[in-house]
């Protein structure tokens, strides 16, 4: 029965709450879809069938007892496998945590469950969220649902692929330099990185603490908004979570008349795939047609964003990954001495990209180099933030491509790490400035691959970003297209 897995999240939850269909039926249909699609896709590292059915049964029991199971009742959700789930293996895509089972839930996992969602599985990712293609996973290969020879993007490639392939209604990813937005763009779905501090990071395996954020990946804007509302909000267990409540998002009226949209000139660069530029400019015209006022802006420090990011993020990562030492959990390679145990464990546990980033991060924090590299990068980061502040004095939102190209082939960018880093060129500044940003599809290239449009908003102004995206979505039908199979 294709119908159940084809429904939007909100339609599914509405039908479950009206008891037209049971959560258990929805879950069974989802699990069947997953079983059918996974061999060719590889989006999941763990499918948790018994737990999913138990959760669905609990939703159904609550409904039978006349209780409110929550706004996401019965919806099938998947979590990127760097989000801790109590009793369910959480690997971060790494050999280091290949058998790690947390005894605790991430706050976002608990909130989804409290909202009635049914967790169906944990999705593949670049190891420790470091990568732009999911090719750095040590535990599996994820393909792009639109073309199995191509990458789904990264690091939340599994989450985006699962949503695009209708293996779940929505998924959570994490975004440090574009890791929700890039795969959402490559897979033709909606991905939202909230403002830094909007969503709790407790229980989310840290990559770069001042940049990481959890966000929804969904089939359309309204579903993404629903998931965001379920997970956002202050968490006393995360000292960086903002005390500001999310304003109600139910009235996404898509009204953009008079909205001032900025087009940063530095984001329309040479070397962009022509189809991407064409599609994005066409999208801008659609928004103008709906009444938005578009003007060029400049973000002059954009050229330094990749360097700034890779210095700050790797520095924080080198420290965040020091806890993986074989002492208390995870992989241990036995050795005669403590030092040898540390070294052998970490050498066996970490893949090449993680090793490279730990080395880079350690180097830029080390004695003699801190001022020249880390401190300098944090200063340039301030300049990048100020660029956005100046732009937002004149605009309500910015519109950009999500990447210079559509999904590339597997193996194509592995030779030179820098080439891979440059995939993030349009997404990275947003993390450095802590802004909310959403990606949704705005076209397809000649090979039938999705092209993503990025909308960036002021701090804590997810509402404007969602409203603008809803307006665009309402005037187009890219989001209705399905990948083959």
């Amino acid at each position: 029965m294709t119908a159940l897995t084809e429904l939007s999240l909100r339609e599914t939850a509405a039908r479950v709450r009206r008891r037209e269909v049971s959560a258990t039926e929805v879950t069974r249909a989802t699990l069947a879809r997953i079983a059918a699609v996974e061999p060719g896709l590889g989006a999941f590292l763990t499918v948790c069938e018994p737990q999913a059915l138990a959760a669905a049964a609990a939703v159904d029991r609550a409904l039978a007892a006349g209780e409110d199971p929550g706004p996401l009742a019965g919806a099938a959700v998947a979590l990127k496998d760097n989000i801790c789930t109590a009793g369910i293996r959480t690997t971060a895509g790494s050999r280091m945590l290949e058998r790690f089972v947390p005894a605790y839930d991430a706050t976002v996992a608990a909130r989804l469950r409290a909202a009635g969602a049914v967790l169906v599985g944990k999705c593949n990712l670049d190891e420790f969220a470091m990568g732009s293609s999911t090719e750095n996973s040590a535990l599996g290969v994820t393909r792009n649902p639109w073309d199995p020879e191509r990458v789904p993007g990264g690091s939340s490639g599994g989450s985006a692929a699962a949503v695009a392939a209708r293996e779940c209604h929505a998924a959570l990813g994490t975004d440090t330099g574009g890791s929700i937005r890039l795969p959402a763009g490559f897979c033709g779905v909606v991905g939202l990185k909230p403002t830094y501090g909007r969503v709790s990071r407790f229980g989310v395996i840290a990559y770069a603490s001042s940049l990481d954020q959890v966000g929804p990946i969904a089939r359309d804007v309204a579903d993404a908004a629903l998931v965001l509302a379920a997970i956002a909000g202050h968490d006393p267990r995360d000292a960086t979570s903002a005390p500001r409540p999310l304003p109600p998002l139910d009235r996404l009226d898509g009204e953009v008349r008079g909205l001032r949209l900025g087009l940063p000139r530095e984001y329309f660069v040479e070397g962009m795939q022509p189809a991407v530029e064409t599609a994005v400019r066409a999208a801008v015209r659609v928004l103008e047609g709906l009444g938005a006022v578009v003007e060029p802006v400049s973000l002059p420090h954009t050229e330094h964003a990749v360097a700034t990011y890779y210095l700050v993020a790797t520095a924080e990562a080198s420290s965040n990954l020091a806890r993986y030492d074989g002492v208390r959990y995870g992989l241990r390679v036995p050795a005669a001495s403590l030092g040898a145990m540390y070294e052998a464990t970490r050498a066996a546990g970490f893949g090449a990209e993680v090793t490279r980033r730990i080395m880079l991060g350690t180097y830029v924090l080390s004695k003699g180099y801190y001022d020249a590299w880390y401190l300098k990068a944090q200063q340039v980061r301030t300049l990048i933030r100020r660029d956005f502040e100046a732009a937002f004095a004149r605009c309500d939102a910015l519109v950009t491509p999500v990447a210079p190209t559509t999904a590339f082939r597997r193996g194509e960018r592995l030779a030179d790490p820098l080439t891979m880093y440059l995939s993030d060129i349009f997404t990275i500044s947003v993390n450095l400035a802590g802004l909310p940003a959403l990606v949704l599809p705005c076209g397809f290239d000649e090979a039938g691959l999705p092209i993503g449009l990025q909308l960036v908003g002021r701090p804590f102004d997810e509402a404007t970003v969602l409203r603008t995206a809803a307006a665009y979505e309402g005037a187009t039908d890219w989001h209705a297209r399905r990948p083959p199979g």
């Binding site: 080198s318 241990r332 590299w373 200063q379």
Partner: protein, 95 residues
């Protein structure tokens, strides 16, 4: 920007990473290549610019001094690679 093999070994020691010789060479090349590309950062005028140490303008929220965790049960220690009783066990630490 040439990162030497010695530098790579120093950094690897700080990060407790054991690197085979060919990996040392590859990392020296990779890090040099990456930092080369990043050298342009040095030219940016940052005089008087404060570093962004924290992502948002938030003052630190404090929590009350209360014991809210019960004594730990086995589940937390279950993933330990090696234990004796309730203690974690590691190769002998030599002072």
């Amino acid at each position: 920007m040439a990162i030497t093999h010695d530098e790579v070994r120093r950094v690897a020691a700080l990060a407790r990473l054991r690197l085979e010789p060919d990996l040392v060479a590859r990392l020296a090349a990779d890090l040099s290549h990456i930092l080369d590309a990043f050298t342009r950062l040095q030219a940016v005028d940052t005089s008087g610019i404060p570093p962004t140490a924290h992502a948002e303008d938030l003052a630190l929220a404090l929590r009350p001094d209360e014991v809210t965790n019960p004594p730990a049960d086995e589940a937390l220690l279950a993933g330990a690679p090696d234990r004796r009783g309730r203690c974690f066990r590691v190769p002998r630490i030599i002072e």
